[in-house]
């Protein structure tokens, strides 16, 4: 097909030599060794370790830099004597509350629901329903208790410490307190200047009614 003439020989050889040279030149571009340098990317496979991952778990008894948990009130939600703390370890500002709302929406609403009644999507799909955050006995728990449950889990709920940093867990607890207040408030509890806001849809309400997938508030760090 390359040639209809009956003259074989040099032209054909030259053609094949040229094609081979082009292929070799092209092939050189396909193997870029700088792309695969002899170092690990995060989570890259490793042939050295038996679990085949280059990401190593911390050996028992070691503390990663920046992960020293030397303040039981902040890191465990407990006092020195083991009781749960009853006050937040840092001041709760509006920024912290907004952060808590955002993180609650990301990490908690799947089971607890946007309003905390324990009717989230995963529960609708068959997961054990958590108690409503608005039960009288749940409302009485201290903030340290909530922090501890987020950190270590409770019942069917696994701990979420590996997903949510410490400061965000406290922010979520603050937002849970706000939710509890909101579901047990009377109109007179709302400052007069903000009462008109009650008729406006909230960001969370818009997120639930929108068909466009997950939404979230801003980031603050």
């Amino acid at each position: 097909m390359l040639r209809t003439s009956k003259r074989p020989g040099r032209w054909r050889q030259a053609l094949w030599a040229g094609l081979t040279a082009m292929l070799l030149a092209g092939g050189a571009g396909c193997k870029q060794k700088m792309s695969y340098q002899p170092r690990y990317d995060p989570l890259e496979r490793s042939e050295i370790f038996t679990d085949r991952t280059s990401a190593r778990p911390a050996p028992a008894g070691t503390v990663a830099r920046g992960f020293l948990r030397d303040n039981p009130g902040l890191f465990l939600g407990r006092k020195e004597n083991g009781d749960y703390v009853t006050e937040f370890p840092f001041p709760i500002t509006e920024a912290v509350m907004k952060r808590g709302q955002e993180r609650f929406t990301i990490y908690c609403t799947m089971c607890h629901g946007f309003s905390g009644y324990g009717d989230g999507m995963i529960v609708q799909r068959g997961f054990s329903p958590p108690p409503s955050l608005h039960n009288p006995e749940t409302r009485e728990k201290s903030v340290g208790y909530y922090f501890s449950v987020i950190t270590n889990g409770y019942g069917a709920m696994p701990g979420h410490a590996h997903q949510i940093p410490v400061s965000d867990r406290w922010a979520i607890v603050a937002y849970v307190r706000a939710l509890q207040l909101s579901q047990n408030a009377r109109l007179e509890d709302v400052p007069a200047a903000h009462r008109k806001d009650l008729d406006a849809p909230t960001a969370a309400a818009q997120a639930t009614t929108s068909a466009s997938g997950p939404h979230s508030g801003g980031t603050h760090r």
């Binding site: 792309s35 990317d41 995060p42 997938g213 979230s216 801003g218």
Partner: protein, 222 residues
């Protein structure tokens, strides 16, 4: 002595002198097109994975937020895939015995890594930082496409240097408000703005470097 070439070769020789420019040009164009095609960039090609994980089901179907699993995307240079314990948060009860999830359970119990095939992988000479792009208002969808509509994940954009530079030369065309980064359907018209005016304003507000700095070699290849 007989002639080496047939007379018709005179014409072939004349045409080939003229045509060489086009032949070389065509060859160069072909190479560029091949390099930009999905044969090289993998755009649109879903890789085989050990578990048929569907983002469409988990994100669009259930409404799970990106960061529930991808916890490090906002601050880390590396955007993580979740550990098995995140899967098991729900799958300890939901679909616990499903054969599809067997590799997840095996990995969870044994500690052996589940080996996913990486979809987005830049050359080791690129020091890409995921967190800075999120912090400066680049939406997930701008680089990853509508992951919420993907059953198996594939690359939506070529992630070539040419593609990176197209934004680094003019970031205003893609910047969005930080609080809309994870919204897959956000449009500037939603808040009554155009991308041109909003982008120009946000570039100033978020202190985004000049195109001269953003396109400097050492910005990505330090």
């Amino acid at each position: 002595m007989a002639q080496h070439f047939h007379r018709s070769m005179n014409t072939v020789a004349k045409v080939s002198i003229f045509g060489a420019v086009f032949i070389i040009g065509f060859g160069a164009w072909l190479l560029l097109e091949i390099n930009r095609s999905s044969n090289v960039t993998n755009v649109g090609i879903a890789l085989p994975q050990p578990v048929q994980f569907s983002h469409q089901h988990h994100v669009a179907g259930l409404g799970i937020e990106c960061r529930y699993c991808h916890t490090s995307v906002e601050h880390s240079a590396f955007a993580n895939i979740p550990p098995m314990s995140t899967c098991m948060n729900c799958h300890q009860q939901i679909w616990f015995g499903a054969p599809m999830l067997e590799p997840v359970r095996v990995s969870w119990k044994s500690g052996q890594a589940l080996e996913w095939n990486r979809v987005h992988n830049l050359g080791d000479y690129v020091y890409f930082n995921h967190g800075i792009h999120v912090q400066k208002g680049i939406g997930c969808v701008s680089c990853h496409g509508r992951v919420d509509q993907m059953q198996l994940v594939y690359k939506d954009q070529p992630h070539t240097m040419e593609w990176c530079l197209s934004c680094h030369r003019n970031p205003a065309q893609h910047i969005r408000p930080r609080d809309q980064v994870f919204n897959m359907t956000w449009k500037p018209e939603d808040i009554g703005e155009t991308q041109a005016t909003l982008g120009a304003r946000l570039v100033k507000e978020y202190n985004i470097e000049s195109p001269r700095k953003l396109t400097s070699c050492s910005t990505c290849h330090h």
